[in-house]
């Protein structure tokens, strides 16, 4: 432990001295250094937090935050932005792993509770958050001039974003604790399925809100159809990509974690390029969700080939640096200015969301006749929020510049709280149900 503290101090001190003495003035933007610093310091910090019983990923996030522009100022937002491609690679990698972790025979066994949790928790969180924001709308200056129906519509945006989960955090915690079991399967399956579901829910809510805010359109069925086609195409492409991966594993014997990361990057870039191309050249809107494609590919490898175990094992070998970089950069990109202004309302939304998750999962678990051990603790696995929620918020800001920044201020504060509390709660939940590797082996 002392060694790790010493390493952490040495890494940070050498960086601080470098900046203090002006030795690093030759280059303003130095992504290689930031990545190295993040990997070493965040690893040590995660290791130290683990010693006090907290999940490592909280350490990675906090390390990224503390070294960033708000505290130690060891790097700038610009440097973090220049490393955005690492985030893309990491997200693609995590999506492949998430898909690979979904074993159909396990899901089949728990299909009823999974469906029950998805519907129950979604309904509870959506209604609970929408209601509390609606009730508090008088306290939000940007809603003062809005009509009741418009307030309800804006509240529904809060409700929708509150529903989103973070499969990446769930995967990272499962990987860290090497957990296995029914509880783990349910949390993971629900988190991944919610990633698909939230896109549909968001589209529906957005098209409704558009009616109230801009007075345009109605429930847009063509939009719904195009969404469903996007999801179907993504699944088909994911299946084909999965088959290609199986072929590469079986026939070509390539260094496949690298191949898969490269593939993920290509999928992300090509999805965006294809979307842009179809829209600008043929006026067709087809925005493929790249992470869905990667998840479907991972799912295909796991469930439609004999390489599932091999696939996950070899992915696991290179997963740690990817998780560290991803979560530390998530922490580094946190905008604490927003937390300063929106923390009170953010806290209210956070608490209401927690209560809604608890009530929704408790009721759903009982209805699905889950053992009490699971339905009393499953809510702990549904708290974390990260990339998807932030992505949806950006979309809100883009579509509704009138309300976007205000909604962002409050919800980013909530997401930051969920990001830090969520992994701690999930690890606690895994320990409580006894599905971590340490508990299974003892």
């Amino acid at each position: 432990m002392i060694n790790k503290i010493l390493a952490l101090v040495l890494v940070i001190a050498s960086m601080m001295l470098l900046l203090q003495w002006g030795l690093g003035e030759y280059r303003e933007n130095c992504p290689v250094l930031v990545l190295g610093l993040i990997l070493l310091a965040a690893y040590c910090f995660g290791f130290l937090l683990e010693k006090v019983g907290l999940p490592r990923i909280v350490g990675y996030i906090l390390a990224g935050l503390f070294m960033g522009p708000f505290f130690l100022k060891l790097y700038t937002f610009q440097e973090i932005t220049s490393l955005a491609f690492i985030n893309k690679l990491a997200l693609a990698f995590i999506a492949f792993c998430a898909g690979g972790e979904l074993r159909w025979h396990n899901i089949k066994k728990a299909l009823k509770p999974i469906v029950s949790y998805i519907s129950g928790v979604t309904a509870a969180v959506f209604l609970g958050t929408t209601l509390i924001v609606f009730l508090l709308s008088n306290a939000m200056p940007f809603m003062n001039d809005f009509s009741l129906s418009l307030r309800l519509a804006v509240s529904a945006i809060f409700g929708t974003i509150a529903v989103a989960r973070s499969p990446s955090s769930a995967i990272a915690i499962i990987s860290e604790t090497k957990s296995k079991g029914r509880y783990t399967d349910i949390v993971l399956s629900v988190s991944v399925a919610m990633d698909v579901f939230i896109i549909i829910l968001f589209a529906v809510v957005i098209s409704l809100v558009q009616v109230f805010i801009k007075g345009q359109g109605g429930l847009n069925f063509s939009l719904m159809f195009s969404l469903l086609s996007e999801i179907t195409v993504a699944f088909v492409l994911g299946f084909l990509l999965g088959k290609l991966i199986v072929f590469l594993i079986e026939k070509v014997h390539l260094e496949f974690p690298v191949v898969i990361i490269a593939m993920g990057f290509m999928v992300i870039e090509f999805s965006h390029l294809l979307g842009d191309y179809l829209y600008h050249v043929h006026n067709i809107r087809l925005e493929l969700e790249p992470l869905l494609i990667c998840m479907a590919a991972g799912f295909t490898v796991q469930n439609f080939s004999k390489q599932g175990k091999n696939f996950l094992q070899r992915m696991d070998r290179v997963s740690l640096p990817i998780y560290i970089a991803f979560f530390a950069m998530t922490g580094a990109a946190m905008n604490l200015k927003v937390l300063r202004t929106g923390w009170l309302l953010g806290l209210v939304v956070f608490v209401v969301r927690l209560i809604s998750i608890y009530l929704g999962s408790y009721a759903s678990g009982r209805l699905a006749k889950n053992p009490p051990k699971i339905y009393k603790n499953v809510w702990l696995g549904f708290i974390t929020q990260a990339g998807v929620s932030l992505g949806l918020l950006t979309e809100v800001a883009r579509r509704f510049p009138e309300i976007g920044p205000s909604v962002q201020t409050i919800l980013v504060a909530t997401i930051i709280m969920n990001q830090i509390i969520g992994p701690i709660a999930f690890k606690y939940g895994l320990k409580k149900v006894g599905e971590t590797q340490v508990q299974r082996s003892s």
Partner: protein, 412 residues
């Protein structure tokens, strides 16, 4: 879009290439040596670069610069890791002295010849000429084991001791090349081409040593407690990135910083071999990507540079022959060393390329000269060195090579 396509192509080349490079083939020895050293990836880079399809244009090359820092730091660290003094002591001490003499002699021969050649044919200022000649002088001191390995894989070598000596020299002389390389940066620190300033140079040297030692110390203390394989990968990648990044930030050479870090790690870390194993595994891919990048950035001008390449090739040949001859005559070898033994050291290998890439990063305006000379001479050397070794060393009276049927053909 272009950057994406470039990344995709380079990744595919590196992945497939790293599997194909070290395979035996039924090709003449020279071509096999070219494939063995991965030289063909330079041509792939040429095809993708400004002399070919222009898919990798200068803008993309600039955006790939961080990778070069990472790659050079990786190569330097890996090279330094091989210098474990305890293991080196197992071989006769005069091997080391002979290596030093031949490297120094080659450097001393090549550097002035290049200086005066450039002075004759170009109008570059003296300081620039000095940098070019020091760069090429240090690159010339390196030699690779590839040609020896190719020959030994296919022919029985009776004079085992001479083979050990040549193998040892080609494995170790990179360290002297790196010292000459450091000397060039010491004279012109922080990519300056101005007048020599001792204080600046000392500051540069001190900082390089401190950065190398700090990164090594971080790596060593991280390894002190029990860790998993995944964690070890984080330590290696993190240290290489941190060292390369510090070099980038402070305008130092990542190759040198990586080497200092690797050298200290090799002698003070219990997990040296474990680190070596992991790093060697990924080295091929990194090296291939660097070759593709260097090929892409290369622009060949058919003027006096071809002539200078000729001078470089000949002076290096002279340096190697003379260096080994002087070295082996200065110490009493208990085995026969023919005067042509230096031909076994002609293969240049990847470390020379790494040195040239390092110079090119800091002196981009000189990049074309340096890259052209080293690439052309490297191709020539890789192509002819196995044949030269065979034709000049085959005679059992002079050097006990005995032609044997190709092992790979026997197997197939």
């Amino acid at each position: 879009m272009r950057l994406l396509l470039t990344i995709v192509i380079i990744t595919v080349i590196a992945l497939i290439g790293s599997r194909l490079t070290f395979l035996n083939r039924k090709l003449p020895l020279g071509f096999r040596n070219i494939i063995f050293t991965g030289t063909e990836y330079i041509f792939m880079g040429v095809l993708l670069g400004k002399m070919g399809l222009n898919l990798i244009d200068p803008k993309i090359l600039t955006s790939l610069e961080p990778f070069l820092y990472f790659g050079l730091s990786w190569i330097g660290f890996l090279f330094g890791l091989q210098f474990d003094f305890k293991s080196l002591k197992n071989l006769p001490r005069f091997f080391f002295s002979i290596s030093a003499i031949q490297a120094l002699f080659t450097f001393v021969i090549v550097t002035p010849i290049i200086f005066f050649s450039f002075k004759t044919f170009s109008s570059l200022p003296s300081n620039t000429l000095l940098i070019i000649s020091l760069a090429l002088g240090s690159a010339s001191a390196c030699s690779a084991q590839s040609a020896l390995a190719i020959v030994c894989n296919n022919y029985r070598f009776k004079n085992r001791k001479l083979f050990s000596l040549l193998n040892y020299i080609s494995g170790i002389d990179g360290i002297f090349a790196l010292i000459f390389f450091a000397l060039a940066f010491f004279i012109f620190p922080y990519s300056s081409i101005t007048k020599f300033n001792l204080m600046n140079s000392l500051e540069w040297l001190l900082l390089a040593l401190v950065i190398g030692m700090v990164t090594a110390f971080i790596f060593i203390i991280l390894n002190k407690t029990k860790f998993s394989q995944q964690e070890f990968v984080v330590f290696i990648i993190g240290t290489v990135l941190f060292g390369g990044g510090l070099a980038m930030k402070t305008n130092h050479s990542p190759l040198l910083i990586g080497f200092i870090c690797g050298l200290i790690t090799a002698n003070f870390c219990r997990h040296r071999l474990r680190a070596l194993e992991i790093m060697v595994h990924s080295e091929k891919g990194i090296y291939i990507i660097m070759l593709v990048i260097i090929g892409a950035g290369w622009s060949l001008n058919f003027d006096f540079i071809l002539l200078i390449t000729g001078f470089y090739f000949l002076s290096r040949l002279l340096g190697k022959l003379g260096g080994v001859w002087i070295g082996t005559r200065s110490f009493k070898c208990d085995f026969h060393v023919p005067w042509t033994s230096g031909l076994g050291l002609l293969s240049e290998g990847g470390f020379a390329v790494a040195i040239i890439i390092s110079f090119s990063i800091f002196y981009p305006s000189l990049s074309d000269y340096l890259v052209t000379v080293v690439i052309l001479s490297m191709i020539l050397n890789e192509l002819i060195s196995p044949t030269l070794i065979l034709s000049h060393l085959e005679n059992p009276k002079r050097l006990d090579f005995k032609g044997q049927p190709d092992i790979t053909r026997q197997k197939t």
